[in-house]
């Protein structure tokens, strides 16, 4: 009898969020679904030891959860419209299994993702709801990952659920016409979660590195449900970035630039998977911005050193990226690649052109790039003043330390 306990726990880990996704559809309410999910697992702990593991645990849990929710509503005699509707749908007080087929389950997972990432919700609400409802993180975990307090996160989630209910955000997979726009919204939430974990890897909190893993896991789930080339591209981009995690920081916790990284520390398995995904995504009819960035990252990953990197290909990919999304930050990255291909003097011209337009004068990395190119050209005075500007604009500890070190080397 005791032996089924670990099974229930593993079912909880693998199935609870998916059972939740289906319960939201059946009950039409996030809070009711959350309660029903707990009731369903309580019932499983009671029944499974005697009855054994059901053939389809997920279907069993959904049925149990729905039954318990309707039962609870009936008991409370809150026979409002909702209860009557649900009771009619549910029919007799028995678990119904037949309509719980696999295809519908898959759609429910997607419904949950698209609803949590609906652009009518504030971005930080989208992020909080996705991590809580789709990934199953606790409010405390979400709060610690984003360096906010649990009440703040809880409030965002309460507001999000209220808006979903009150403005009637549908629990649906978007129509074909809306899909690209809505998918963008989902992808940017996933990428934001990843970056929060990735740049935070300098910190001492492990939870934040877990955030990147969570984003990768989420992208895998999404790709499984929706085999779109940009989902593939984003997953590839994250895998390729993440493959360098170990090499990005030295033993003192200081930032190591790509050119100075010990490439033997790069995770080869992640690189292999990332490159395979990029190749597949690049064959799509339209190549999206995540795929292009992944292709750039893959070009770095393929090289043994900065010297042997195919900078021509990287510049070409940045050109492609600029036609899809014109942004001064991408232009800056392109300028740095041009410097690697054609020499620092030409690169510096490009950087000065961008700074001259006034676009990135408040962006520390623009000044850091200028400083680095001046340093390479032996123009120490200009380099020093650019490093000083960059340092003044930087808030992040490791970046500041890095720039400070470079500045000291010059003075």
């Amino acid at each position: 009898m005791q032996e089924i306990r670990p099974t229930i726990e593993s079912v909880y880990r693998t199935e609870s969020r998916r059972v939740f996704a289906t319960l939201v559809r059946l009950l039409g309410d996030f809070d009711l679904a959350e309660d029903a999910l707990h009731e369903a697992f309580t019932a499983a702990v009671e029944k499974w030891p005697e009855q054994g593991l059901p053939d389809n645990p997920r279907a069993w849990l959904v049925s149990a959860g729905r039954f318990k929710a309707i039962d609870a509503i009936r008991k409370k005699e809150r026979l409002n419209e909702l209860a009557t509707d649900l009771a009619e749908e549910a029919g007799p007080a028995e678990y119904e299994m037949e309509d719980l087929d696999e295809a519908k389950f898959g759609d429910d997972d997607l419904r949950l993702i698209f609803t949590c990432c609906h652009p009518a919700l504030a971005l930080n609400t989208q992020v909080a709801m996705t991590l809580r409802e789709v990934c199953g993180l606790t409010t405390e975990e979400v709060a610690s990952a984003f360096l906010t307090s649990p009440p703040t996160v809880a409030q965002r989630i309460v507001r999000g659920k209220a808006k979903i209910r009150d403005v009637k955000i549908p629990y649906e997979i978007p129509s074909k016409a809306d899909l690209p726009e809505r998918l963008d919204s989902v992808l940017s939430v996933i990428y934001l979660v990843f970056n929060e974990g990735y740049s935070a890897s300098f910190g001492d909190s492990l939870t934040r590195a877990d955030l990147s893993c969570e984003a990768i896991r989420l992208a895998r789930l999404l790709l499984d449900l929706l085999p779109d080339s940009e989902v593939m591209g984003l997953l590839a981009l994250m895998l390729l970035h993440d493959s360098r995690r170990e090499a990005r920081v030295d033993s003192k916790g200081d930032l190591v630039l790509l050119e100075d990284q010990d490439r033997s520390l790069w995770d080869r398995e992640q690189i292999r998977e990332g490159m395979e995904l990029v190749e597949r995504a690049m064959t799509a009819d339209t190549v999206g911005i995540y795929t292009m960035q992944a292709a750039i990252s893959a070009t770095h990953a393929a090289a043994a050193s900065t010297e042997t990197t195919d900078w021509g290909r990287i510049v070409a990919l940045y050109d492609l990226l600029l036609t899809a999304s014109l942004s001064p930050v991408i232009e800056l990255n392109r300028a740095v690649a041009v410097a690697m291909r054609d020499g620092p003097e030409i690169g510096l011209d490009r950087v000065d052109e961008i700074l001259g337009r006034g676009d990135l004068t408040g962006y520390h990395l623009a000044h850091a790039a200028r400083a680095d190119l001046c340093r390479r050209l032996g123009r120490a005075d200009e380099a020093i003043s650019a490093y000083e500007k960059a340092i003044a604009l930087t808030n992040q500890g490791p970046e500041r330390r890095f720039l400070q070190k470079r500045l000291e080397e010059l003075s």
Binding site: D166, V167, K168, I169, E172, S175, D178
Partner: protein, 128 residues
């Protein structure tokens, strides 16, 4: 679910021809929506230079010229629609011509039970 679509935009951004075209296109969309049973009402508003604002403070009435706030984008009109959910409201909002120049704000209508059905609206309908 009933939603109000509030049209905000810079009044000066429209030429006379554009405005007329916009009215024409909007009228057509209203007829389409009406045929689908999704239309409850709509109207463009005269410019903010025609606005009068009224406030009552401490029992004293203050009437001033102009809109309640001076902004670069002004409320220029509204639609009231009855659709299934927000996504459908977003779809309609993105189709109406002013969305291309200004902003359409979608607000669900808070329905109060004891409000009367406008008798003047009914008599207008009947006299047609």
């Amino acid at each position: 679910m009933k939603y109000m679509l509030l049209i905000y935009g810079d009044e000066k951004a429209w030429t006379v021809e554009e405005r007329e075209q916009c009215m024409e296109d909007s009228t057509q969309i209203c007829h389409q929506l009406n045929e689908q049973g999704k239309y409850l009402g709509s109207s463009p508003l005269q410019p903010v230079s025609m606005a009068t604002s009224v406030r009552v403070r401490g029992g004293k009435r203050m009437v001033t010229d102009g809109p309640f706030a001076e902004t670069t984008e002004q409320l220029g009109g509204y639609y009231i629609i009855d659709v299934d959910n927000l996504d459908e409201a977003i779809e309609i909002a993105s189709r109406i011509p002013p969305a291309k120049k200004g902003t359409v704000e979608i607000r669900p209508i808070h329905e109060l039970e004891d409000l009367p059905i406008a008798s003047s609206a009914i008599s207008v309908q009947e006299s047609r």
